[in-house]
């Protein structure tokens, strides 16, 4: 329809019309592309925010702020992978929030981290009996609690790997560290998790 308008318009007007309609169209097009690209990762973003912020209300705020920032910077987004790009922004939002609060991590929702083994000794050596290889079975909430109890950098690494399903390279980009650091953090995270795992009681029958 616009093309038809153009064909009847005096030549000098074309450029003007193009920039006017072009701006509006470009904005709408950008918004649409952003929605299509970013919203499928909302669950991933919320999951990471839950583990980083440790409570649902802060996680929601962080995710919303992340999406607004991502839209603002969408023009500079050069793909290919949207998920790590979004999660990197989200991580910055969470860090900024911690900085604002004076580096105090918020306390976990008591109700939501019901099974977090905060009091269990994390550093007990896993027994080396053959049975140790047989992993104790835990329900999902217990496993979430074990992950939530890990110290920050290790929690972040393991969540990006096991929950968000990112590659080492992508984790390195999100966390802003070399791949070698990602590998050592994951190794530490899993060693801690394994100790806690073997100690934790399966909470729900």
């Amino acid at each position: 329809m616009l093309d038809r308008l153009h064909s009847h318009a005096p030549r000098v007007l074309w450029a003007e019309r193009d920039t006017m309609t072009g701006d509006a169209n470009a904005e709408q097009d950008k918004a649409r592309r952003f929605r299509d690209a970013a919203l499928p990762h909302l669950d991933d973003a919320f999951a990471l925010a839950r583990y980083l912020m440790r409570n649902a209300a802060d996680a929601e705020d962080a995710v919303q702020e992340c999406y607004l920032r991502a839209l603002r910077h969408f023009d500079s987004y050069r793909g290919p992978a949207m998920k790590p790009w979004l999660l990197a922004i989200l991580r910055n939002v969470c860090n900024a929030e911690f900085a604002r609060r004076g580096r105090q991590e918020t306390s976990a929702d008591p109700a939501e981290d019901e099974s977090a083994p905060e009091q269990t000794p994390m550093w007990q050596e896993p027994s080396t009996s053959p049975e140790a290889a047989l992993l104790r079975r835990h329900d999902d909430a217990t496993i979430r609690g074990l992950v939530a109890a890990l110290p920050r950098p290790f929690r972040e690494a393991i969540v990006l790997r096991e929950v968000n399903d990112l590659s080492y390279q992508e984790i390195a980009e999100v966390a802003g560290v070399p791949v070698g650091t990602v590998m050592s953090r994951l190794a530490r995270a899993r060693a801690m998790l394994r100790s806690a795992w073997n100690i934790a009681e399966g909470s729900t029958p």
Binding site: Q28, D43, R137, E162, D165, S167, M183, L193
Partner: protein, 267 residues
């Protein structure tokens, strides 16, 4: 390889980040070192347990709405026309695309309501059994893909001359179904193109052939050995999708594929 090197690399092995050479080295060391073998199997078991657990809670609906309302509104007609799938979706088109950010929740609901009729003929059952066997075979180490890439423009030409059809290879990464490669398989004695997708940890094999079972535009489905199987015909081709994904997500996958097919989706 010594124990220190093995420990440094065993997580990369578990995470599928090691090249074949190093992977062999780690496995070889673990075969002669009980300490490393024990670590490897324990961490593998833990990784598997975490993959199987639901560690991700879905974003609350009100968060979706908050973000949606904070984003500038798109031109609803434009986006709907571009991506609106086939006619069975049209009644819900407004809620699906107008209320864009309702997104996956609505997609899931719509997918769940997709009518799946039961297979009727014995031949269908035979083929269903065969595609499930092929799916299970493909899950064995090293059997999943002949060509491993997320680039549809690499997968599609790869099938040239191997099968007598040009299977549509559709990249649904943005929709949450990652294209991971392609494979040549044999169903009913005939070479068949298998296009492989992944949703989280779940593999979806999409088998495409010129004639494979009774042609019907409706999606038919059943469960074989715990795997969900769907069959439909479109554009002169037969499609069989197999996965351990839950039925609603598999139906969602079929809708996305159908919507992107040039010949149109199931009626």
């Amino acid at each position: 390889m010594n124990c220190a090197e093995c420990e440094a690399l065993l997580h990369a092995l578990i995470d599928g980040e090691l090249d074949a050479g190093h992977a062999r080295d780690v496995e070889a060391h673990a075969a002669i070192c009980s300490g490393c073998a024990e670590k490897l199997s324990a961490f593998r078991a833990m990784h598997a347990a975490m993959a199987a657990a639901d560690l991700k809670q879905a974003a609350p609906a009100q968060l979706r709405r908050r973000i949606e309302s904070a984003l500038p509104l798109p031109a609803p007609e434009t986006s709907a026309q571009i991506i609106a799938p086939r006619k069975f979706l049209q009644p819900s088109r407004r809620s699906f695309f107008g209320g864009f950010a309702v997104g996956t929740a609505v997609a899931g609901a719509v997918a769940a309501s997709l009518v799946v009729t039961v297979f009727r003929t014995d031949q269908e059952q035979t083929i269903a059994d065969e595609v499930v066997s092929a799916h299970i075979r493909s899950l064995q180490p090293g059997h999943l893909m002949d060509v491993e890439t997320s680039d549809q423009h690499t997968v599609k030409p790869w099938f040239d001359g191997k099968v007598d059809v040009a299977p549509p290879v559709i990249d649904l990464t943005a929709e949450g179904f990652t294209l991971i490669g392609g494979r040549l398989d044999y169903i009913d004695g005939e070479p068949v193109a298998a296009v492989v997708y992944k949703r989280r940890k779940h593999v979806i094999n999409l088998f495409v052939a010129q004639r494979l079972g009774a042609a019907h535009a409706n999606v038919t489905g059943r469960t074989v050995q715990g795997y969900n199987v769907r069959h439909w015909s479109a554009g002169g081709l037969d499609f069989w999708a197999v996965s351990d994904l839950d039925p609603a997500e598999l139906n969602e996958f079929i809708q996305k594929i159908s919507a992107a097919l040039p010949g149109g989706g199931p009626a």
